[in-house]
Symmetry: C2
Subunit: 404 residues, 2 copies
């Protein structure tokens, strides 16, 4: 498996584009993106678990209920949520795009991200769709990536190449992350494309099983957005024998998909609102998988620990505290905690107790921008990883006045 | 019922003191407090639900297992948690105090608050106990209050006078709050004293039932501390007929207790780490009590909403979003949201949808330092209230480098 360029256009038959159509106030910011496949493909998705759901989600669910899709349209700047005319606008986005591209409206995935509860005007989108469609190119992944960004500071993109049955296959993805990202749901916008041939049901199975250990293990601030979804579109143009069941080919595809999703998880966490550090919490020695996940998520979600990491403060008591209130059944007298980064690794807690360690060395380790928090529960063999970021002044600044 | 001065010394037979014994680095800060009752009294307590528990909790649980106590000793600056010799130190605190006051060590409640996982030296406490005890006075509530503060910026104290069976009764309390305060547990240090005569079992019943709607509905940052407890000591010196069952006297006592606890909840929330605003979230029209509580707590815990309140931004979408992911079974199409303060009241969301409102008026309302978030679920008659605060730059600053 090798990492390649191209993002969502890396796979055969995919083009993309992103333009500014005028939804956002910032005149320098693209706000409408499109991903298009030459052929109708298999499509799978997971959605937010929030009861308050963006209107596009209802429309997308309906459109891909047959497991097929050909294009993804997404705007930023307005979440199209809690509006009286939300579903009508989302449906119209798909219809207008369908007409322009000469494809079925029902084969269009619709997504929106931005502020909740503000009326959404179709006009700029309607006016933008011709330019958006005409500008589709195989180099357009970065433009599409820009168009879905909100408070993101970097584009999030990755693609890999691999083989199935002697055929060269590709899979790539782009993501929008930042605030409002919390476990137990598909909590960001992630669009993944592949030229692998795979049945819709197997694609859905692969996605659903993958996100349990990837996107559902990312937390920025514990809030759970109303609009987010992860969509995979696979058009079969790699020419491999269609994957219809579990087996070697499915396993290879799962591995490629996981490479994409883990990479995007790390990028999303590292670019959390105001974040200066990527935090990766790895739990091992757990009695079972659920315990490992519960512990890792609780630690990565602790505001107190996140603030300590911002200050490069080796306050391991907050790690222990977050494990203690996680609800997981652990033996606190067995817990070891290490902090690790490029600058080295240091043990700060052994058997649930303080150990003597060099505060200087710990500081040096925690001043790096990627920190691993390693937790050994010494009670079994299960493991889990969760991703998050530090809590900073800028998080407060960004979210203290997001709308104005 | 009337509010009176005196805090934990308002009730008959209580004295208190707070001194600096030298645990904390800050030489201007008191770090050892004592509350003493002339007579042994009924004692009830609730403790943190964190699996990682401070050593003093184990000792206190044992000491009040007979429902009796006579004194409360508490240090700040070190939580005496995750230390190899924690229980021995906590036990020694009680024994030294018992000797000094000529009371049973088993009648001493021990508490500690501060940093986790640092060795706790008994020496400054042992040296301080004589001065601490000799300085006990009926004016000492404020000194005791200062001695238990950590990052608190104001003393938290309240007392009320009421009558039971023609006898004048009093109840008062002091609290230490700030960060690490989260629902589902007794999550702060609260010491309440009363001269009411009440059986230990009825006192425990009153406290346990009260905290479900008071201290368990306060959240500062979603973290749940390892050390916190709420203790009530009632010495019977008011001379009322001992309360042994539910009835009018019990109801009167419950009402007085609730006045104390609600007041302290509001003070603790308003003084959350870095807070500039007290947030009170009131849910009504809920189908049942649990739904009302779940919704109120979810909203008060949302980092995104807390940051918006700091910025006086009427981002009601975040209220709806937090209701949506709360796990409560609500009809989102029925939800009304109002913001309210001294400056007035404004409806910002009706039937789960955007309404036209004056952003200027909303800003004026949200610039006040006590904000009510009113949520009408329009599905029943149950209500709940939760308390919290805004998320600010200073929260990050305080917690980014707490230990140094």
């Amino acid at each position: 498996m090798k990492i390649i360029e191209g993002g969502v256009c890396a796979a055969k038959g995919f083009t993309a584009n992103g333009i500014r159509c005028g939804i956002r106030k910032n005149k320098d910011k693209r706000d409408l993106s499109l991903i298009f496949s030459e052929a109708v493909g298999s499509c799978a998705a997971v959605y937010t678990t929030n009861l308050v759901k963006g209107a596009p989600i209802a429309v997308t669910k309906q459109h891909i209920s047959d497991g097929r899709a050909q294009a993804i349209i997404c705007n930023s700047g307005n979440a199209n949520t809690c509006n009286p005319n939300g579903e009508a606008v989302a449906t119209e986005m798909a219809e207008l795009l369908g007409k322009e591209l000469n494809i079925k409206a029902e084969d269009v995935v619709v997504a929106s991200t931005g502020v909740i509860g503000q009326p959404m005007d179709i006009t700029p989108i309607a006016n933008g769709i011709p330019e958006l469609s005409k500008g589709l190119t195989a180099d357009g992944s970065d433009l599409a990536s820009e168009g879905i960004m909100t408070t993101d500071t970097v584009k999030k993109s990755i693609a890999v190449e691999f083989e199935i049955g002697g055929k060269i296959c590709r899979i790539g993805g782009i993501a929008k992350g930042s605030g409002m990202i919390h476990p137990n749901m598909a909590t960001m916008l992630v669009f993944i494309t592949s030229d692998v041939a795979i049945e819709p049901s197997m694609l859905q199975k692969a996605l659903s099983s993958d996100i349990a250990d990837t996107f559902n293990m990312v937390s920025i601030d514990g809030d759970t957005s109303t609009n987010d979804m992860v969509v995979v579109l696979a058009n079969g143009m790699a020419g491999n024998e269609t994957i219809t069941e579990e087996g070697e080919d499915y396993a290879t595809f799962m591995k490629a998909l996981n490479t994409i999703t883990v990479h995007l998880c790390r990028m999303i966490a590292a670019d959390g609102e105001g974040a200066t550090k990527l935090l990766e919490c790895r739990t091992f020695g757990a009695s079972d998988k659920e315990t490992a996940k519960t512990v890792a998520k609780s630690v990565i979600c602790s505001s107190l620990l996140k603030a300590a990491m911002f200050g490069a403060d080796a306050n391991w008591g907050r790690v222990l505290c977050a494990i203690g209130y996680s609800g997981a059944d652990v033996d606190v007298e067995k817990i070891d905690v290490d902090f690790e980064s490029k600058a080295g690794k240091i043990n700060v807690c052994k058997d649930g107790r303080a150990v003597d360690f060099s505060e200087e060395k710990a500081k040096e380790i925690l001043l790096e921008d990627e920190i691993n928090i390693l937790i050994d529960l010494k009670s079994g063999t299960s493991e889990a990883t969760a991703w998050g970021c530090d809590l900073t002044y800028d998080y407060v600044k960004i979210n203290g006045d997001y709308r104005t």
